[in-house]
Symmetry: C3
Subunit: 384 residues, 3 copies
């Protein structure tokens, strides 16, 4: 004697898989509720905490607390409105729109996006934070403002094909001139996948960014994957030009994948006190799925999605990563970061991650301070 | 082989049209998810930015980021909980409840509202920000505290009829006395529509407000429709009485409408240094829908709703508005604001708006500062 | 000619009762949207506002504005993500995650919780804020840090049985050591119900907490149920040990219930200037439902849920409560708080509450200040 569920318009299809979605059977309209929890605990020591006397530090915090909706109206008008509420130990939460944009998909030549969205820049950044293989993305994304994409609005064009994708963006760079005019930076990305099969993929990509700054104080600073540490400033000063280039490559075969990116950032001094700075960084990461699943590659977006566990007990993934950071600003600073990681994909929704890092630096630590460090982190992720 | 969707209680009716809704077929219970994005870019110059040396200014920002739910329980208990997350260039988002109220509709004489809701005051304010014909409402709503309705709670009574509506409100005015008691202002509105047809409407209305202030520093300031400009202070000082009256009129026939409101605000000085202030402002706005649609008038609420495009290519609307502001406080300040606007209603959900303004003032600019100014703005609106 | 609503996966069951829920018929997946509004107005006077010259104070404010989702994936992975947006008169809203956790229920011995959730401590705190019989919980929950459970993350184990429940928690206590390490406190609770019938219940419980502080400035402060008053500081200083014990008891028969809790907190001084402090507090509360309904007791969680009105005109409940607070820190401070309350449960979703309090203190007020006070409060609650 179940009650009847009907609709007054076109036929509807409903789903729940932790989240919720409904769409019209004619694909004209859709609506989804989505979210993601990243509950993290992290540890850092040594050079990572030079600013606080090398003391070790542990933190338990909400790294991401996404919640929001996506939908489509009249087939071609897609929107996304996902907020992010984060919280540190003892502090209050901070809510902001993580994404808030409209995308028009009715034009053949390109999709048109207006609003707050991830910009077209880099392989790992294009990959959702919920689908990366390490707890934090590679340091190179912190070392460029091109990586700080979540708080700016953009006007973007882009398109995906069977083996290729491209995107260009004009974005509010968050700066203002002295007369308070918003300044707009621009960036772009092109990816090509000579191989794009379910169990084998070869990815190549290039990204460019000109932050189009007027002048002001900028830094290249990174926590080297230890999110709540003091972090390391590799370059800083008053600059009036900020340009970045990035190269991407990845190869995946069966349960094995290797992925690498190289970034070069050029900062031009705006005054006599600041020395021009050149920051470069690369990483190479290898992953191996002990339970045999392949990572999921999407050639039309030039990115990876999460592993889908085939077994009821989930999937296990081993991760190794080496990163190098080099900064020339008068003197030369270097850092090497070694990571070992283990991920358990309990099911499509739940993922448990463990990362250990060993860090060595030269020319980074102040006198009498530790020039090496360690970090560890654990994450429980729930996608709905 | 589609799966079955059923319910364990009364029959349900589901809808999606970008947003989502479900209700029981007996109309006892309902639930809706709603939101609105206003993605704006604006420009201002001259007198609007006197405080920053007349410099021109551009901004890209999230003007509104609404998201929330509405619903009904036991037929007569309606609620609304819509948050608003806004964001400026480079700044973080700010989230607050835009509306958060309970309305009891089971009493014949009046609906009873408790909570945070738009107060009964003025035609354009009663009209949803998603349905107004210009990007920003007329300046007169900034020139009175009666227009600042979104951050206060109220206890309100009101009712709509076929050709008439009324509402009265007792509201937390956001002030406190020296002993920290909340102070409560009151306002009310009455509207009458001699004509209320689908293609022709004549609207008349009157609104009154007493902010019931004790004493304190208050201003009558407006950005004259250029939201991110410095704006202009027309009157300021230490006052102990703050009363406002407003007259409304609108006529619509076919694709043509004209709408006007007149506001008068009386501020009484609370000390020897402050001069009594009288601020008045009116606007007259004309709209013409090039594609022939009429605006949608709701006589039972004394307000307008959005145009529904009849063509697949959407509806186009031309808008012209003239505003006058006058403030007497010792000397007399004047401002005239001319607006030209063009709106494209792509469909029920999406609206693109363009506004150009020319502003002249007298007795407003500081010496050696520009006494005229310009502004322009663009908005992409998505309702779900 | 209603449209068809179907699904592409397992059969679904949908419900709306103000909020919204959908689950798979096989109970593997579920998703719910929930919220709660607490719209309060309160008054306080005398000793409660010593800090502001005993002046009386009224406030209208959003005490709670909950909104969020809960759900299940793969049967055993439950999550909750409920935000809370509060707002004072004239101020902006503040949003934070009220709960944000993952609970694994697939292990027979215990449920495992990670994230932000109410901790296992006390009868009234385990009872939802939407189901308590007075507007504010007893003062004893403010007098211990064990009661401040909403802003910390925890790792918890717990389980409910037919007549019994237990829970233990290791929690981020919001403090940091000088080297910025998070510190973790621990607490636990055990409840037993010799009687757990629908119309009769006897509840016994014990809770223990060690905040595991290093050292720092801590206070035992309470507003004694008058939320927006200045409140009273019963003990304060620099402490390095903070332990609390609590005893719970409740008996319910038909429309009548009586409930009592006793708390003892021991604070050890960390320096020569601070005297050791001992704070104790208890309350005894009686309720009588004029319309005959029983309170709803859940023995497997050791808590109460809301009364379900049986009549169309709702249920009426009378409440009386006596609280005593005593603090020894060199001298002895005392407070007695008498409360009279009336609640109207309009239906399952709507509840209207009225509270009056009379307060007497000794050794609390500064010289020439009032040592007694009054408070009153009103709440409109809407659950969806």
């Amino acid at each position: 004697q179940a009650g009847i569920v009907s609709t007054e318009g076109p036929d509807l299809i409903v789903r729940t898989d932790g989240g919720f979605g409904v769409k019209t059977a004619d694909n004209q309209f859709s609506f989804n509720v989505e979210g993601r929890m990243n509950l993290d605990t992290s540890y850092s020591s040594g050079v990572l905490n030079n600013a606080t006397n090398d003391k070790s530090r542990t933190d338990t915090y909400v790294r991401r607390g996404y919640f929001g909706v996506t939908g489509t109206a009249y087939k071609d008008w897609y929107f996304e409105a996902i907020m992010n509420g984060t919280a540190d130990q003892g502090g209050t939460s901070n809510f902001e729109w993580n994404t808030l944009f409209v995308k028009y998909t009715g034009w053949d030549a390109a999709n048109i996006t207006l609003g707050r969205d991830v910009r077209p820049f880099g392989l790992e950044q294009s990959t959702s934070s919920g689908a990366i293989s390490t707890i934090e993305r590679a340091a190179l994304y912190e070392l460029t403002r091109a990586g700080d994409t979540e708080t700016s609005q953009q006007f973007a064009l882009g398109k995906g094909y069977k083996n290729m994708s491209w995107g260009v963006s004009l974005y509010d760079n968050g700066d203002t001139t002295t007369s308070k005019n918003t300044r707009y930076g621009y960036d772009g990305r092109f990816t090509y996948a000579p191989i794009a099969e379910k169990n084998e993929a070869l990815h190549l990509g290039i990204s460019l960014d000109d932050a189009n700054i007027d002048q002001g104080k900028y830094s290249a600073k990174s926590t080297l994957g230890a999110k709540k540490s003091d972090g390391i400033v590799f370059a800083t000063g008053n600059f009036d030009s900020d340009r970045t280039g990035l190269l991407e490559a990845a190869y995946m075969k069966g349960p094995f994948s290797v992925q690498a990116e190289y970034l070069y950032r050029d900062l031009k001094s705006a005054d006599a006190k600041t020395v021009d700075a050149k920051v470069s960084s690369y990483y190479i990461m290898g992953t191996y799925t002990l339970t045999g699943e392949s990572r999921v590659y999407k050639a039309s977006a030039g990115k990876f999605a999460n592993i889908n566990p085939t077994s009821k007990t989930g999937a296990w993934e081993l991760v190794g990563r080496y990163q190098h950071v080099k900064a020339d600003q008068g003197s030369t600073k270097d850092a090497d970061v070694y990571l070992l990681g283990l991920n358990w994909y309990a099911n499509k929704n739940v993922k448990l991650m463990f990362n250990l890092q060993n860090i060595t630096t030269s020319n980074v630590a102040a006198e009498n301070r530790d020039d090496s460090g360690k970090s560890a982190a654990m994450r429980l992720q729930y996608n709905f």
